[in-house]
């Protein structure tokens, strides 16, 4: 296998808060190949956004990366100097966010916001930047881009703003795009359009995509592979089809059972028992799902199977659901 676009290895992040240290991420490992779309799924609070922010180097001041690497194009983003990161951010790896309306500067014309990024990262002159910005608006399917470039975010719809966000993210043709719930809050048609645009750009440039969502259905449709996170751990990773056919971690199974599919009726829909553990607790069980897990063993409190960050599959469970034996589960 060729070197992955991004390799995250044993990433741990803690937040210093007034009510204690939040161990938001612990030993998170996964990889994305070039041109691949990787979905990261998990309940709210499972650490999906924190993972993305850590990779981007935009964690807030209360956060500390306590271990791990995030290797992109030979550079460890977590150890890189401020200057080196400033070059990478927006150029090699770009990010789009939830809430496109608030994610854009409310008092700056969208064309100028795109031009700012072009001037920073792409080799364009100040004179050419507005024209390039308009071209980018065109590539993300905005009609009448000349007029729209002069608009302010409040004059555009949510879907339109998200297209502008994509244009900003793709301005420098990054090798990795992280999309953190890019379609939450948009209607279904717009959702599909936005996802199509991202997929189309990704296949056009060979860009890797990390698609963060808690919508398993959307992940099933769009992702080549899925990483499941729970309470700051990666619990499982598999090819999309395999994951749905043979979920191996009890949490993945519960998550799929709790997702409305084509076949299941609402009555058959189950909920996941229990809540996420309090990440501020001084002593968390080795497996953070243990307290909610119907298949818990004694060993689950004290040890957790480790994950190979370079493998396409991962499983962090001593007592996985169905049998086909896998190396990682040993």
């Amino acid at each position: 296998m060729a070197a992955p676009a991004l390799l995250v290895d044993n990433l741990s992040v803690e937040f210093q808060t007034r009510s204690g240290v939040v161990k938001a991420l612990e030993g998170v490992s996964f990889n994305v190949a070039k041109g691949e779309t990787l979905a990261v799924v998990g309940e709210s609070g499972s650490g999906k956004s924190v993972t993305a922010y850590a990779v981007m180097g935009i964690l807030d001041a209360a956060a500390a990366v306590t271990s791990g690497r995030a290797v992109l194009g030979g550079l460890d983003l977590l150890a890189a100097s401020k200057e080196a990161m400033a070059e990478v951010r927006g150029r090699e790896v770009a990010m789009i966010f939830q809430n496109p309306r608030t994610a854009l500067n409310p008092i700056r014309r969208v064309g100028d916001q795109i031009a700012d990024v072009l001037l920073r990262h792409a080799n364009v002159t100040p004179n050419a930047a507005p024209r390039e910005a308009i071209k980018l608006l065109e590539t993300v399917g905005i009609t009448d881009p000349v007029r729209r470039a002069k608009a302010y975010p409040f004059e555009l719809s949510g879907g339109m703003c998200q297209r502008v966000m994509i244009a900003i993210a793709l301005a420098a043709q990054p090798s990795l795009l992280i999309a953190d719930e890019p379609t939450t809050g948009l209607d279904v048609t717009t959702q599909a359009i936005i996802m199509d645009i991202i997929a189309e750009r990704a296949s056009a440039t060979g860009m890797a995509t990390i698609f963060i969502t808690h919508d398993l259905g959307l992940a099933a449709e769009r992702a080549d592979r899925i990483v499941v996170m729970h309470a700051g751990h990666v619990v499982e990773a598999q090819r999309t089809r395999d994951l749905f056919a043979h979920p191996r971690h009890p949490y993945t199974q519960a998550l799929i059972a709790a997702t409305p599919g084509h076949t299941s009726r609402l009555a058959e829909l189950s909920t996941i028992g229990g809540n996420l553990p309090d990440l501020r607790a001084a002593k968390l069980p080795a497996c953070r799902y243990a307290a909610r897990c119907p298949r818990k063993l004694a060993i689950c409190d004290s040890s957790l199977p480790s994950i190979d960050p370079t493998a396409p599959e991962a499983l962090a469970c001593h007592n996985p659901v169905s049998s086909p034996p896998m190396g990682e589960a040993a």
Partner: protein, 337 residues
Amino acid sequence: MFSLIFNRLMLAIPSLIGVVIVTFLLTRALPGDPAAYFAGPAATEQAIAEIRAKLGTDKPLIVQFGRYVSDLARGELGNSLTTGQSVAKEIATRLPASAELTLIGLMLVVILAVPMGILAATRPGSWIDHVTRIVSTAGVSLPVFFTGLLLVYVFYYRLGLSPSPVGRLDVFLSAPPHITGFYLIDAALARDAEVFVAALKQLILPALTLAIFALAPIARMTRASMLAVLSADFVRTARASGLSSSKVIVTYAFRNAVLPVITTLGMVLSFLLGANVLVEKVFAWPGIGSFAVEALIASDYAPVQGFVLTMAALYVALNLAIDIAYGLIDPRVRISS
């Protein structure tokens, strides 16, 4: 944009009418009979009545009001009883003195407080954050006349760095030819470096006094507003796009944070116009504040009325300027008006 300005001007008209009525009633309701004050303690009842007739204060209020309004319409603010001078003329010469002082004070505030607030917000917990907090607290708790006297004591009396704190210009120099009434500008226009420097030296201490007074609210508001904006989603986007930190802080964060700062600036400026009275007293500054206080003590209506009206007009102009600044900075304001 023009409709915004026009709307705000229209809105200002009722307040101006209100001010005209209130100043009239207020000055009539002031304790003390100007005629009696004028005639002096030894005057007879008849002499006082004569003066009253001359002043028109023996007429019914409504008649007095009619005369007052028609005078106003002609730009006539009456004459001061104590000096006999035309109030309009007096204000015209004194207003630039106050305005120059206030504006320089304001410039000092903006130059000091805004960067302080920004740095405090971008480096929470650093020494500049602590300095900002200390200065903010100290600035609020020091009364203006005290700061003024302290500055005079230190810089004039102790260190001898500044000229004697009396008026706008050293007595041995003559004022620059009157063009704007702002000595600094007039001296610069007349290419008179000596007068320019002398006027600047006189200005520094009173302007600094005003600036110290206004520093706290502006620095605090800049800091708070910047902190709020720096945690906004669009700043995160700008950071994630790898924009330089100066671009993120100035173009993205500060331009969004500046609106509440401008509002505070407007409020502070209104306060400064009031604080002027004390500063002008301390520094013997020939502005409209000291003029109004003297007139008030002498129950001299016309100057007081003139002063209040001038202030009201300034407030209206100030608010209009703030609205225009809002419209220029925030496109949403332009559209919604």
